[in-house]
Amino acid sequence: MREALEFSALLRQPRTTSKEDKLKYVDVILDLLEMHDIADCLVGTSGGAGLSIEQRKRLTIGVELVAKPSVLVFLDEPTSGLDGQAAFNTVRFLKKLAGAGQAILVTIHQPSSQLFAQFDNLLLLAKGGNTAYFGEIGENASVIREYFGKHGAPCPEGKNPAEHMIDVISDTSKNWNETWLSSPEHDAMLAELDRLQDPANSTPREDETEGLEFAMPLWEQIKIVSGRANTTMYRNVDYINNKFAFHILTGLFAGFSFWQVGNSVSDMQQRLFAVFNAIFVAPGVIGE
């Protein structure tokens, strides 16, 4: 598991960062994701031994994070396929990351009200990708409740606001896109975006790795990737045992079949076939 993170960090952080710094950063991420106790576990295969689904999701997030994404992490439905506890845990980690200053964009379907309350801002898309709402969610979804209440669809007490707003905007009798465009929240949000954008546009980008296809030079890539391949090969005990056993068995089989051939003329032909037999190591190892 730690290896997976280190591999990603070494290859994907810019080449100007030193190796020690990259490995140190892996520890930072391990801390952040509270994964120190399982840092040396094998990831395993799905359905087999290894990490649980939730731990795996956390690891995939970690693999992205150790690359030190400067702008934003995008996660497509990080909670899908998880049980309630695991989904809440995952969102809790995301929240922690956001607290550490990382911008995070998440798509989500059918969040529970608790999960929903963890997010800061919401971009609600109605059918056809039209914006129905974009702005703060507020403490316990208060801002959203207020917005929908103002526009004739108040959220009943005790109902999940996330579910409520999906019900509301699915109702095609009212065009929520137009409602949004004409609302004062829309104008406020545009002004806010402009305010954020102006300083960002006026400062030049200082990303020297921009335009390079890969973060690391080719020779470094070869070294790192080969190192990993050697480790996986060393751990693939089935493969190696198979290879060794096959060589020993075919060797012995050919050897005993032509046991101690002599030097006469008829033996010459035997010798020739003995050598010939050696070719057949190949097909067995290669494959079927």
Partner: protein, 132 residues
């Protein structure tokens, strides 16, 4: 098959599919690094295999034990390990999946076997092939 990844080509193809789906798209490293890693990681085991095969085979058949001839034969076996691995990976790299690779293998193997001189001596082979 009990161990789906226990052999050269299925292993190669499985790794390649993962690379295509994941690292290639996220631009983590280039295919040159990927292929080099697959080739290099075979090397240590091929050396061991060559030694194992040589000892199990050469002395049981009773070939001359003198170092001058035994060494030469060992060297050929040693190279052969690398050559057949190379051929196997070459086929695997072209094949869309493990089954297709397994279908192409016999073609290559029987070309090697048929023309190596043990099945049909050079003097008796059809004239057409002798020009090659």
């Amino acid at each position: 098959m009990i161990f789906p990844t226990a052999q050269l080509q299925p292993l190669f193809i499985e790794k390649r599919d993962i690379y295509d789906a994941r690292e290639k798209k996220s631009k983590m490293y280039s295919w040159i690094a990927f292929v080099t890693s697959l080739i290099v990681s075979e090397f240590p085991y091929l050396v061991i295999c060559a030694v194992q095969f040589f000892f199990c085979y050469y002395y049981t058949v009773g070939f001359p034990a003198a170092a001058s001839s035994a060494g030469a034969v060992f060297f050929v076996f040693f190279l052969y390990e690398f050559i057949y691995t190379g051929i196997g990976q070459f086929i695997a790299a072209y094949a869309p999946n493990a089954v297709a690779a397994a279908l192409v293998n016999p073609l290559i193997i029987f070309t090697l076997v048929g023309f190596c001189g043990a099945v049909v001596p050079y003097g008796q082979i059809t004239e057409f092939w002798r020009y090659w």
